[in-house]
Subunit: 356 residues, 2 copies
């Protein structure tokens, strides 16, 4: 039931995005294709599901939130395009990233190579994300076509600038800055703040936007809107905690990335920062010495696992994750019981399910 | 009178932008400073002047268009931040560009150097422009606070996505692509299209937005709105033609850039493309051989000047510029005579005046 409903939403959002006229007049053609690329790649479309089900839960017609749902997805995608340039990632889920694909295009079409091709890829990927940001805004602004009032649409569009963009990009910036500060100088509060901005904010916006469209109000202090917002941001942060845990203690087969890649990147996860806070000076310097290596032996990974477990940080991050999930669930239970609430409840279980 | 009025507008827009709360909560602090940098650098604020005077000309209160005027200026600035990364420019009017300033910040604060510092500068300059795009949208959406109706504000915000962003970024992309195609394969139509997208569109939006706020209508087919839009885009393109002419035939003292730098970059100006179309095969290949050099003797510049003049392309581009100016003026004269029309008339003379 849940998986089927999620697939229905994915199919519906795929169609809305694929058929949307916004990119059609972009020049040159390869840039138009790049703008369409990530948003049309499909995927689970969890963000649109949260928008539509939150709207349904509070008695709204999910159809009236379709533009907002598609906008959230396009918004998410433009931030990925720029993130991928910044992170120097050439692959996203097995397919070339935008800048990598454009780099290859420049080799094939303009016979560029080396630095010139890399610069072509990055330059046009910057413009790709810029256009996708406008596409997301355009999609959201067209919510009036689905019956959302002009006043509410304006407020939603304003929140996409003042809340989502500003906070999410601040989170991305902190994420890029943290490795330069160094994990030993970061606090768990700083890491949690970054996680909320980078991951929680857009999910909160999705739930709140669905709720706002249902209630015809942009008042974030309304209990139902607030409860759904907390549900979504806590669910997202809990997922991130568990994903970070899986990155060290998980099963290589089930997990997407190599175990230990977070250690190699010295990724400032809550678990790592907590361990560095809790360990003895000797333990701390040993754990720091295990970060940022080019490759990892099984022994080195086992030693990092031991130190983090021994510090209590593994237990801490799993409890923090559980606490967020319980809070998200409790917020949901304050709202009317109906099939949409059930779907959002199953979404929570689905997110945790990845860790079983 | 005109210069005084322009200074008043610059002072007013400076204040609106400097005091705006949007950037205040951006993290980290150096990113917040970068977001404020270009928009707060001042300058002539010609785009806001066009918005406010177009509004006044058609009987609107210029104050009601203040948000739109500031939004156009911030929008212009974010595109410059991303352009400067793409063009590898380290200076903008004698001051460091955003990515150059951030690169230096990373040297001073995080002791980065070489490629790492350059990457830091470019990465955070990408995020700076991303945030400024949201800031421009936020500013425009807050036009409702100045009495613009929610419906009209929505339509203006939608035009900023579907018209300005999409067309302007397409123009920027064509401008980056053209050197790869090569000037001998470009047509004057392609160059004019790129110029309209990159330069004309935002100016047209400024004039039309002021007019739309005055008339409370977003109908671009209304004669007064259309006339002001053509006035502004023709004025901008005429300016660009003459600026390109000055880049080869102008006085080094009065002109900002070194004479011949357009030849060095093989910049596909209308004048160059027209010359390549009109010259004999021998003349064409000689002119092509004068492009893309590392340095230029006075003799080489004189030879390029001769070939372009001899082809009729110099005369052509000056006539095209005059024709645009005449058209812009004629459009303005179809509108009511009042002090705002006079200011827009003087703005046209002012733009040409730079070329005397």
């Amino acid at each position: 039931m849940f998986i089927e409903e999620l697939k229905n939403i994915a199919a519906q959002i795929d169609t809305v995005i694929r058929e949307d006229a916004f990119p059609a007049t972009i020049e040159p053609a390869f840039l138009r294709d790049a703008v369409r690329d990530y948003p049309c790649r499909g995927g689970k479309r969890l963000r649109p599901a949260i928008v539509l089900w939150s709207c349904g839960l509070l008695g709204g017609k999910p159809e009236s939130a379709t533009h907002a749902a598609a906008a959230a997805e396009i918004f998410h995608n433009w931030t990925l395009v720029h993130d991928d340039i910044i992170d120097n990632d050439d692959f996203r889920r097995g397919q070339p990233t935008t800048h990598a694909a454009l780099r290859q295009f420049s080799c094939d079409t303009y016979k560029l190579d080396g630095n010139a091709a890399a610069k072509f890829g990055a330059d046009f990927a910057i413009l790709t994300g810029d256009l996708q940001q406008a596409w997301a805004n355009s999609m959201l602004l067209r919510s009036v076509e689905a019956g959302v009032s002009a006043e509410l649409t304006l407020k939603l569009a304003l929140r996409m600038q003042d809340f989502v963009n500003r906070e999410l990009i601040s989170g991305e910036a902190l994420d890029v800055e943290f490795p330069l500060i160094g994990p030993e100088k970061l606090s768990t509060e700083q890491v949690n703040r970054m996680l909320y901005l980078k991951t929680g904010v857009l999910l909160q916006f999705c739930a709140e936007t669905g709720a706002m469209i249902a209630l015809g109000s942009a008042d974030r202090e309304q209990p139902a809107i607030k409860a759904l917002g907390e549900y979504a941001s806590d669910a997202g942060i809990a997922f991130q905690y568990r994903d970070d845990w899986l990155g060290l203690y998980g099963d290589q087969e089930k997990f997407g990335k190599p175990i230990g890649s977070d250690l190699a990147e010295a990724k400032p996860t809550l678990m790592l920062i907590k361990a560095l806070e809790a360990l003895s000076p000797q333990g701390k310097s040993e754990l720091l010495s295990l970060l940022g290596r080019d490759s990892y032996s099984g022994q080195a990974i086992d030693r990092a696992r031991f130190l983090i477990r021994d510090s209590g940080a593994e237990d801490f991050v799993l409890r923090e994750s559980e606490s967020r999930i319980r809070n998200a669930h409790a917020k949901l239970m304050t709202l009317p019981e109906n099939p949409y609430r059930k779907l959002l409840e199953e979404l929570l279980a689905y997110l945790i399910g990845r860790t079983v």
